[in-house]
């Protein structure tokens, strides 16, 4: 068979659609298998086993954002002085 010759946007749409279908199918398959075996099934998809609701994940994300802001604030307060331009440049290049 020949490789795909679609435009990028078409391919992206198709890929997104395929992903949606794959996720839905995976979910269905897993549900059926769980009913049959009573055990959760291992799947290829990296995130397929993540089942937490989006709202819970939102709380986690906001928690991380707050921690991040705190870390920056503490870092600034604990930094005893602002470096000059050259020093900042050399420190930034290390990270």
């Amino acid at each position: 068979m020949k490789p795909l010759k679609n435009s990028e946007s078409e391919l992206r749409k198709k890929a997104a659609e395929l992903k949606r279908r794959e996720a839905a199918l995976n979910e269905k398959e897993a549900r059926l298998e769980n009913e049959e075996t009573g055990k959760p099934r291992m799947r290829d998809n990296l995130y397929a086993r993540i089942t937490i609701p989006v709202k819970v994940l939102d709380i986690i994300i906001w928690g991380v954002v707050i921690l991040l802001v705190l870390a920056v604030a503490i870092g600034i307060i604990m930094g005893n002085r602002a470096p000059d331009l050259q020093e900042a440049q050399s420190v930034a290049s290390l990270f």
Binding site: A15, L18, A23, Y47, I52, L68, G75, I76
Partner: protein, 353 residues
Amino acid sequence: MQTTAKRRLQNMRDWNPPYIWGIIVLSFVAMVAIARPDLLDVQNLISILQQASNRVIMALGAAGILLTVGADLSLGRILGLCMVFTGSLVQSVTYAGRMWPGLPALPLWMPLLVSILIAMLFCAFNGLGVAVFKLQSYIMTTGTQLIAYGAMCLYVESGPHGAAAISTFAPEFINLVNGGIPIAGEVEIPYLLLYGIAAALLVWLIWTKTPFGRNMRAVGAGREAAAASGIKVNRTIMGAFAMAGVLYGIAGYLDSARYAPLGTLARPEYTLNVLTACLIGGMSLQGGAGTVPGVVMGVVLLQFVNYTLAFLGVGSYYQYVIKGLLLILAASVDVRRYLLRKQRAEETEQQEG
């Protein structure tokens, strides 16, 4: 017009990168710029872009793998190995502490070729494990990074001076990397920036205008579906790793001039920095998603954050904490996108049937 505004609002509500990241980082930078306006000096901005340029080259390599199969955790060590090899081959012939005292001055393309070949060798090994033996890319590349680290230590210690740091490079090599084209007064366009732009353009062309680039995306979206549509999956995966090898080789070559003296501690932190930048730029750990402009933007935004933190005098230990939190945040946003997509697919399915 209203639809575009609505879509943008929805993108922000969905935490869709790089929208949300752009807003977060730019507001952070704006706050700092108000507090210390000297941050937005032309020289400073060029300096940030210069530092980001080489990372763009390595991030594009890692992004190709991320697009096709998943994260490459061996990047930092492979790059370190390329750096020490390059460094040992471009030392100034007048320097008494050279690693290879009898070596004549080599043309500058030769260490570049060596660096690319080394990176390609390790990447091909990774590709073989992932494509042929179906190993998870995380496992395969973690193993490879240890091999690369061991090889780097052995190489550094193999010189006549033992594990001495590799330094004092030929001036023409330093100029090739750290030089620039003067435009006005002391301001100059760094060569590194030009290399970064050239690499980004080339990779963008490969990703968007060639069947290989489209195949990479299709393989990342689902190997089985890609194979069913006639794509040679293993060849595509190997191609993605080979492309990454070339880009890592170039990045290692360029980086060696910037971070001398070089030793066995060369750049392990690049791996997670690049991964964070790719996630910020809209790549997914699942593969199949992301664009070259997104990756470039992710790298530049992260470099802005680094620079701003250093500018504010935030200590390096705090910077590690902040970078770690950023990585977790970027990965969480990626998971959120997946869950949202799944939720919407289920809703559509329920409506349809």
